[in-house]
Amino acid sequence: MAFTFAAFCYMLALLLTAALIFFAIWHLVLPEYLIHAFFCVMFLCAAEWLTLGLNMPLLAYHIWRYMSRPVMSGPGLYDPTTIMNADILAYCQKEGWCKLAFYLLAFFYYLYGMIYVLVSS
C-alpha cells in the first residue's frame, strides 16, 4: 500500500468534486469548468483511463457549451437579457440538476477509486 500519484489524483478529485457539487447548485460556471478540466488533466497524467473516459463526455459538453455561448466580451456563459426567459431558465436548471447528480455519483466513485488504488498498490 503506497500513496501513488493516482491515489493523490483521486483524493484531490474527491475534494474538488465536493466543491463542484456546490458550484453546480449555484451556477458558478467558470470555476466549475476549470476545476473539472483540471482533474481531467490530472487523471490523464495518472493514466486512469477509465475515470478519464467517464469524465470525457462532460468535458466535451463544457467545451461545447462555452464555445456556443452568446456573444459577449467578458468571460461568462449566461446572457442577462435572455436568461430570464422561462425556457432558457428551465434548461439551465435542468442542467444544474443533472450535473449535481453526476458529481454526487462521481464523488463516491472517486472515493472508491482512491481506496481501490491505495489498497491494490
Binding site: V71, M72, S73, T81, T82, M84, N85, A86, A90
Partner: protein, 1225 residues
C-alpha cells in the same frame, strides 16, 4: 384615515345615463346620503350623469363601439383638440399672469349663462335637504326631464376645443372658475333628482356632505377649464349642436364619443391636479403665478370646508355667480363639487376617480383622458382604423342584447343598500349564470362566437357556463370548415376584427379592449396536452401604453390588491360577501378595505362591486410613495448627434433642429424638464447651456478612450430656465459643422459619455447616427457581403457583432435611461449590433435608409413627421411592467424592447405609446377546476409630470376542454404576430431558414391537426376552420416579408430593421406591415362611407394582394403601414388622373410623385380624405409613392403582392398545395 368611508359621498357623483331604466339606478343610489340643499337647484343636469348602477354604465360603454361611425361629430371635435393642445400649453406658458379683477368680470357672465341653461325648476322642488324621493320610477322621470340641462353640460365639454383655440386670451385661469362653478353647482343640483328612499340615512349623510365637500372641490377645478372655455369662447354658450349632446348622453362610458371630445381636457386636468397637491400658497397669489400650469387651478384649492356649501345651495341661481369669490382663499368656497361627475362628463368612463374618503384636499383626482395634450393624440384618437366599429350584425345588435341580461339584475340592485352581494357578476357564479342567460335565450348577441348570430340559444348557454362547450350544438361560424384550395376569395372585403371571447355578456362588456390586450387563443385550452394537440401558439399581444382617449384614473389611499399574488382588483374578481373578495388569479380570499366600501360614483356605501376599479378592465391608479424607490424623476432628454462629414452631408441636422425648435414647448414634462445636447465625430462635443451664459459654450473632449464629463452640472439644463440658450444652439447647430472633414464616428465613447451624463437621473437619450461607428469602444466592421443579399441559403450576421451595445443598454436600463436610435444611413451600418442599445434599454429604433435631405425628400419629410410625433408623444419614465396570469398558466418568453428582470417583470426605462409587446404562455397545470382565466398587465411608470401611475389592463378568457372550441377561438392575427416574433428569435438564435421552416410547419401542423381531429370531412382537400382560414395567407405574407424573405435582394440592415419592428410594433401596425391592404381608389363612392371630423371618408372594399386584381383601367392604393403606394394603370381613366393627380393624362404623370394635389373636385376630395384617414390611424407618418404602371419603381409595389408568384417564392395557391402535400406526407 380620519374620515369614515361614508363621508366621501357628497363628493362623489354618479351619473345616470339617460337611456337606462332609471329605476335600477335610483335604487342603487338610494343609500347615498341626501344631497345638501344647495345642490338641488342645478340638479337636473346632474341626474343624468349619475348612473349609480354599474351595469347600466357598462351597457353604455359597450354600445358605443358599434355606434362609432355614427357618432362622427364627437370625433370631429376631437381632431381640432389635438392640434390645439399644443396651443393650450404654449398659451399657458406665455401668459402666466392673470389679473384677478379680470377674472371676476369674466366669470360672472359665464356663470350666469351656464346657469340659465340648466332648467333647474323641476328638481329643485324635490331637492330640499331632508326630502327624499323614494320611488325608483321618479328617477327615470328625472332623467328625461333632465336631459335638457345635461345638454348644456355637453357644451362645456365640447367647448375645450374652442377654448384652446382662443387660448391666447389672457385670463384663462379665472374665467375658468366661473365655468367651473357653473358646473359644480349643476352637479350639486343633480343630487336631489336622484331619489333616496332611505330617510334616516339621509340626514347623516347630508351633514357629512357639507363638511366634506371641501376636499372634493378639486376635481372641479379641472372641469373648470372646460367650463371656462365655453364662457370665453361663446358669448352665447347655448348652441350646442344637438347631435353632440346626444352623443354625450349616450356615451357616458367607456368607448364612446365623449372620449373624442375629451383629449384636450385631460391634459389640463393633469396640470391642475398637480398643482393642487403642491401649492396652497400658490393658489393665493393667482396673479403672480410663475408656474404657468398651476395658475388656473389654484382658486379652488382652498375650499373652506362645510359651511359655504349650504349657502350656495339656497341661493339657487345666484349660487352660480358665487364662483368669483372662490378665487380668494379667504372666502369660503361655496360650491361643493363632485369630482366624479365632472370627470364623467369629460367622457371618462362611468367610473370616475373615486377618491378615498379622506378629507384631505389631495385625495380627489380628476380623471385623465389618458392622453396628454402633447402627444399627437390624433393617431390614437383618430377613429378610423380602430376596430371598434364592428361591421357584424351581431355586434350591432349588441346593445339590445346587452340590455337583456341586465333585466334580472335591476331588481336586485334596486334593493336598498344593505342588500348582499350576490348579484355581482353573474358570470362568475356558474349556478346563477345559466339562469340569467336562460331568461333570454333568443338573444342573438350571446351567440358563442360573436360574429355569428346563427345559433344564439345554444351558444349563449355555453357561454353562460363560462365557456364550457356544449358540443351537441351546431358548429359556430368560426368552426365552419373552409376548403382553402377551393375558396378563391379568402380575404374578406372588410378589415378583420379581433374575435370576441366567448364569455357571457356581462363579462364581455367588461373585458379589456382588444387594442390593448389580445390573446392568440380566445378560448384557452384546459391542458397543455390539448394545446399541444391544437398545434397553435399560445400567447398575449400587448399594447399597454396605447394612447387612450379616455381612461378612468383612480386616486385612493389604498390600492386594493390581492395579498398573496399582488393582483390589482379588477372586474373579474368575485365578491364572496360584502367584505371579502376572491382573487381571480390565485383564488385567495381577501378583505375589502373600509375605504373601498364607499362608492363615490353612486355615493353609496357597501357596494364595492360598483367601484370604478371593478367596473373597468383598464384603469389607471395614482400610486402612492409605496410605489417609488426614489422621488419621481423629472423628464430628461439628451440628444446625441452625429456630426461627421457623412452626417452633415445627409443634412438631417437642419430637420432635427427645426423640429426641436417647433416642439420645444410641447416636449412632455413639467417645470423640472431638463435637456442636453452632445455631438460627436472623432471627438465628443458637449454644450454648456447653463443659465446666465450669453451663448452656448462648446466643450470638446478628444480623449475618447477615457471619456469624462467636462462640467457635469451644466450639460443637462432646465428647459425653461435656459430656453434662449437652447434655441440659440439649435439655430446654430446645423451650420456649425458644414465644413467638417472628419469622417470618423466615435459612437461608442459618445454613448458612454451620455450614460455618465444621464445616470444620476435617468431619462431618454436620442441617438442620431449616420454611419458605421469607426472609433473607440464599440467600433464595428462591415459584415455584409452584398453578393449574399439575395442568397437563398444562409443569411448571416443577424446577431450583434459585439456585446458593447448590449452591455451599455443594460447599464442604461439599470439607471432608468432608454436609448432611442435614429439610423439615417445610406450604407451598411450594422443595425444588428447598434439595435442592441435600444432593444435592451426599452428604447425604439427608427431607420431611414439612404436618407438625404435633398436627394430623398420623401424620407426627409418622413423624418420630420416622425420627429414631431416622437418629440411630443406621451412618455413614461422608470417603468416596470408585470404580467400576471391565473394560476396554472405561466409565461415563458417575452418579445419587445425591454430588459427582463425576473420571470414576469419587465424593466422599461422608458415606455412610449407606440411600443408593443408579446408574451408566450404555457399551461403548467391543468385548468379543469376553473372556467375562466385572467391576465393582468400592470405598468408602473412615472408620468412626464412627475406622477407615479399604474396602468392596469385585465383580460378574461374562457377555458375550453375540446379541440373544436380551441380552433373556434383562434385569433389569427394575434397568432401571426406571435409567430413572427418567435420566428425573429429563431432566425437570430438559429438561422433564417430554420425560422422559415418553422413558419411553414406552424401552418402544416395546425391544419393537419385540425383535419385529423375536428373535421370529419374528406381528407383529400385542404380544410381549415373559418377562424383559421387566413392563417396560410398570413404565413405566406410573413415568408415574403423583408425580415424573412430569401431569394429577393434584401439589404441586411433592411432585414434587421424589419425584425426589430416585428419585435416592437403593436399588433395593429404589425399586421399592416405583414399583410398590406389594397384598395381600388379610382371609383370611390360614398357607399358605406363613414363620417369623420366633418368629412366623408369612403370605405372601399379590400382587394386581395394579387396582380389579378389590378386592372389597367384602375388606380390602386396599397397601405403597407409605413408606406403608401398608389399604382396608376396605363389605361386609367383620364378623369381620375386629372381630378385626383392633377395631370392631363397618364403620360404626363412624373416618375417621382409623393403628394396628391389639393384639387377642388369630388374624387380628389374623396381620395384625399381616405388617405388622410388612413394616415391618422398610425403614429408614424407613412410616405406616399405614386407609381406609374411602367416606371421602374413598380417593382417595389409588386413585391407586396404576396399572393403572386415570384422567382423565389410560391404563389398563394402553390403554397396551399405545398402545405397540403406536407400534410399528406
Amino acid at each position: 384615515m380620519s374620515a369614515p368611508a361614508g363621508s366621501p359621498h357628497p363628493a362623489a357623483s354618479a351619473r345616470i345615463p339617460p337611456k337606462f331604466g332609471g329605476a335600477a339606478a335610483s335604487g342603487a343610489a338610494a343609500p347615498a346620503g341626501p344631497a345638501p340643499a344647495p345642490h338641488q337647484q342645478n340638479g337636473p343636469a346632474q341626474n343624468q350623469m349619475q348612473v349609480p348602477s354599474g351595469y347600466g354604465l357598462h351597457h353604455q360603454n359597450y354600445i358605443a363601439p358599434s355606434g362609432h361611425y355614427s357618432q362622427g361629430p364627437g370625433k370631429m371635435t376631437s381632431l381640432p383638440l389635438d392640434t390645439q393642445c399644443g396651443d393650450y400649453y404654449s398659451a399657458l406658458y406665455t401668459v402666466p399672469t392673470q389679473n384677478v379683477t379680470v377674472n371676476t368680470v369674466n366669470q360672472q357672465p359665464g356663470a350666469q349663462q351656464m346657469y340659465s341653461r340648466g332648467p333647474p325648476a323641476p328638481h329643485i322642488v324635490g331637492s330640499t335637504l331632508g326630502s327624499f324621493q323614494g320611488a325608483a320610477s321618479s328617477a327615470s322621470h328625472l332623467h328625461t326631464s333632465a336631459s335638457q340641462p345635461y345638454s348644456s353640460f355637453v357644451n362645456h365639454y365640447n367647448s375645450p376645443a374652442m377654448y384652446s383655440a382662443n387660448s391666447s386670451v389672457a385670463s384663462q385661469g379665472f374665467p375658468s372658475t366661473c365655468g367651473h362653478y357653473a358646473m359644480s353647482t349643476v352637479s350639486n343640483a343633480a343630487y336631489p333628482s336622484v331619489s333616496y328612499p332611505s330617510l334616516p340615512a339621509g340626514d347623516t349623510y347630508g351633514q357629512m356632505f357639507t363638511s366634506q365637500s371641501a376636499p372634493t372641490i378639486r376635481p372641479v377645478k379641472d372641469n373648470s377649464f372646460s367650463g371656462q372655455n365655453t364662457a370665453i369662447s361663446h358669448p352665447l354658450p347655448l348652441p350646442p349642436p344637438p347631435s353632440q349632446q346626444h352623443q354625450q348622453q349616450q356615451s357616458l362610458s367607456g368607448y364612446n364619443t365623449l372620449t373624442w371630445s375629451a383629449p384636450g381636457l385631460p391634459s389640463t386636468q393633469d396640470n391642475l391636479i398637480r398643482n393642487h397637491t403642491g401649492s396652497l400658497a400658490v393658489a393665493n397669489n393667482n396673479p403672480t403665478i410663475t408656474d404657468s400650469l398651476s395658475c388656473p387651478v389654484m382658486q379652488n384649492v382652498h375650499p373652506p370646508k362645510s359651511s359655504p356649501v349650504v349657502s350656495t345651495v339656497l341661493s339657487g341661481s345666484s349660487s352660480t355667480r358665487t364662483p368669483p369669490t372662490a378665487n380668494h382663499p379667504v372666502e369660503p368656497v361655496t360650491s361643493v363639487t363632485q369630482p366624479s361627475e365632472l370627470l364623467q362628463q369629460k367622457g371618462v368612463d362611468s367610473s370616475s376617480t373615486t377618491s378615498s374618503a379622506s378629507p384631505m384636499p389631495n385625495s380627489y383626482d380628476a380623471l385623465e383622458g389618458g392622453s396628454y395634450p402633447d402627444m399627437l393624440s390624433s393617431s390614437a384618437s383618430s377613429p378610423a382604423p380602430d376596430p371598434a366599429p364592428e361591421p357584424d350584425p351581431a355586434s350591432a345588435s349588441a346593445p339590445a342584447s346587452a340590455a337583456a341580461p341586465v333585466i334580472p339584475q335591476p331588481s336586485k340592485m334596486a334593493k336598498p343598500f344593505g342588500y348582499g352581494y350576490p348579484t355581482l357578476q353573474p358570470g362568475y357564479q356558474n349556478a346563477t349564470a345559466p339562469l340569467t342567460s336562460g331568461v333570454q335565450p333568443s338573444n342573438p348577441v350571446y351567440s358563442g362566437f360573436q360574429q355569428y348570430p346563427q345559433y344564439p340559444g345554444v351558444n349563449q348557454l355555453s357561454s353562460s357556463l363560462g365557456g364550457l362547450s356544449l358540443q351537441s350544438s351546431p358548429q359556430p361560424e368560426s368552426l365552419r370548415p373552409v376548403n382553402l384550395t377551393q375558396e378563391r376569395n379568402i380575404l374578406p372585403m372588410t378589415p378583420v376584427w379581433a374575435p370576441v371571447p366567448n364569455l357571457n355578456a356581462d363579462l364581455k362588456k367588461l373585458n379589456c379592449s382588444p387594442d390593448s390586450f389580445r390573446c392568440t387563443l380566445t378560448n384557452i385550452p384546459q391542458t397543455q396536452a390539448l394545446l399541444n394537440k391544437a398545434k397553435l401558439p399560445l400567447g398575449l399581444l400587448l399594447h399597454p401604453f396605447r394612447d387612450l382617449t379616455q381612461l378612468p384614473v383612480i386616486t385612493s389611499n389604498t390600492i386594493v390588491r390581492c395579498r398573496s399574488c399582488r393582483t390589482y382588483i379588477n372586474p373579474f374578481v368575485s365578491f364572496i360577501d360584502q367584505r371579502r373578495w376572491k382573487c381571480n388569479l390565485c383564488y385567495r380570499v381577501n378583505d375589502v378595505p373600509e375605504e373601498f366600501m364607499y362608492n363615490p360614483l353612486t355615493r353609496s356605501y357597501g357596494e364595492p362591486h360598483k367601484r370604478p376599479e371593478v367596473q373597468n378592465s383598464t384603469v389607471e391608479f395614482i400610486a402612492s410613495s409605496d410605489y417609488m424607490l426614489r422621488p419621481p424623476q423629472p423628464a430628461v432628454y439628451l440628444f446625441v448627434l452625429d456630426v461627421s462629414h457623412n452626417a452633415v452631408e445627409a443634412g438631417y441636422l437642419t430637420i432635427l433642429c427645426q423640429s426641436l425648435l417647433e416642439n420645444l414647448d410641447k416636449l412632455p414634462g413639467d417645470s423640472r424638464t431638463r435637456i442636453g445636447f452632445m455631438t460627436f465625430d472623432s471627438t465628443i462635443h458637449f454644450y454648456n447651456l447653463q443659465e446666465g451664459l450669453s451663448q452656448p459654450q462648446m466643450l470638446i473632449v478628444s480623449d475618447i478612450d477615457d471619456v469624462f464629463l467636462p462640467t457635469p452640472d451644466s450639460l443637462l439644463v432646465n428647459l425653461y430656465e435656459s430656453k434662449e440658450l437652447i434655441k440659440d444652439l439649435l439655430n446654430a447647430l446645423p451650420n456649425m459643422f458644414t465644413n467638417t472633414r472628419e469622417t470618423h464616428s466615435a459612437l461608442g465613447p459618445a454613448l458612454q459619455a451620455a450614460f455618465k451624463l444621464m445616470s444620476p437621473t435617468g431619462g431618454r437619450v436620442s441617438v442620431f447616427q449616420t454611419q458605421l461607428p469607426s472609433l473607440g469602444a464599440g467600433l464595428l466592421q462591415s459584415r455584409e457581403d452584398p453578393n449574399q443579399r439575395s442568397s437563398t441559403k444562409v443569411v448571416q450576421h443577424l446577431g450583434p457583432a459585439t456585446d458593447f451595445y448590449k452591455k451599455l443598454a443594460l447599464d442604461c436600463s439599470g439607471q432608468q435611461t432608454a436609448v432611442d436610435l435614429f439610423l439615417l444611413s445610406s450604407q451598411y451600418s450594422d443595425l444588428a449590433s447598434l439595435a442592441c442599445m435600444s432593444k435592451y434599454s426599452a428604447g425604439c429604433i427608427y431607420y431611414y435608409p439612404s436618407f438625404h435631405y435633398t436627394h430623398n425628400p420623401s424620407q426627409a419629410e418622413k423624418l420630420q413627421k416622425d420627429l414631431k410625433r416622437y418629440l411630443t408623444r406621451k412618455i413614461g419614465f422608470e417603468a416596470v411592467m408585470r404580467i400576471r396570469c391565473t394560476k396554472g398558466l405561466s409565461m415563458h418568453t417575452f418579445h419587445g424592447n425591454f430588459f427582463v428582470r425576473s420571470t414576469d417583470l419587465l424593466s422599461l426605462a422608458n415606455i412610449n405609446p407606440d411600443a408593443g409587446f408579446a408574451v408566450q404562455l404555457s399551461i403548467e397545470e391543468s385548468l379543469t377546476d376553473t372556467s375562466l382565466v385572467c391576465f393582468q398587465t400592470a405598468l408602473l411608470y412615472t408620468s412626464s409630470k412627475g406622477e407615479r401611475r399604474i396602468r392596469v389592463h385585465t383580460l378574461c378568457l374562457p377555458v375550453v376542454s375540446s379541440l373544436a372550441d380551441v380552433y373556434a377561438g383562434v385569433d389569427v392575427q394575434a397568432a401571426i404576430c406571435l409567430l413572427a416574433n418567435m420566428a425573429v428569435d429563431r432566425s437570430i438564435s438559429s438561422s433564417l431558414s430554420d425560422a422559415r421552416d418553422a413558419l411553414v410547419n406552424a401552418v402544416v401542423d395546425s391544419l393537419s391537426a385540425y383535419g385529423s381531429t375536428v373535421s370529419n370531412l374528406q381528407h383529400s382537400a385542404l380544410m381549415a376552420p373559418s377562424s383559421l382560414k387566413l392563417f396560410p395567407l398570413y404565413v405566406l405574407a410573413l415568408l415574403k416579408q423583408k425580415a424573412f424573405r430569401t431569394g429577393t435582394s434584401t439589404r441586411l440592415d433592411d432585414r434587421v430593421y424589419a425584425m426589430c419592428q416585428i419585435k416592437s410594433q403593436p399588433l395593429v401596425h404589425l399586421m399592416r406591415m405583414i399583410h398590406p391592404n389594397l384598395y381600388r381608389i379610382d371609383r370611390l363612392t360614398d357607399e358605406g362611407a363613414i363620417h369623420v371630423n366633418d368629412r366623408v371618408v369612403p370605405q372601399p372594399p379590400l382587394q386581395k394582394l394579387s396582380a389579378e386584381k389590378l386592372t389597367r383601367e384602375g388606380a390602386f392604393l396599397m397601405d403597407c403601414g409605413s408606406v403608401f403606394y398608389i399604382w396608376v394603370g396605363k389605361g386609367c381613366d383620364n378623369n381620375f388622373i386629372e381630378d385626383v393627380l392633377g395631370y392631363p393624362n397618364f403620360a404626363s404623370i412624373p416618375q417621382k410623385m409623393t403628394h396628391l394635389p389639393e384639387l377642388d373636385t369630388l374624387s380628389s376630395e374623396r381620395a384625399r380624405s381616405f388617405i388622410t384617414w388612413l394616415r391618422d390611424s398610425r403614429p408614424l407618418s407613412p410616405i406616399l409613392h405614386i407609381v406609374k404602371d411602367e416606371s421602374p419603381a413598380k417593382a417595389e409595389f409588386f413585391q407586396h403582392l404576396i399572393e403572386d408568384r415570384t422567382e423565389a417564392a410560391f404563389s398563394y395557391y402553390e403554397f396551399l398545395l405545398h402545405v397540403q402535400q406536407q400534410i399528406c406526407k
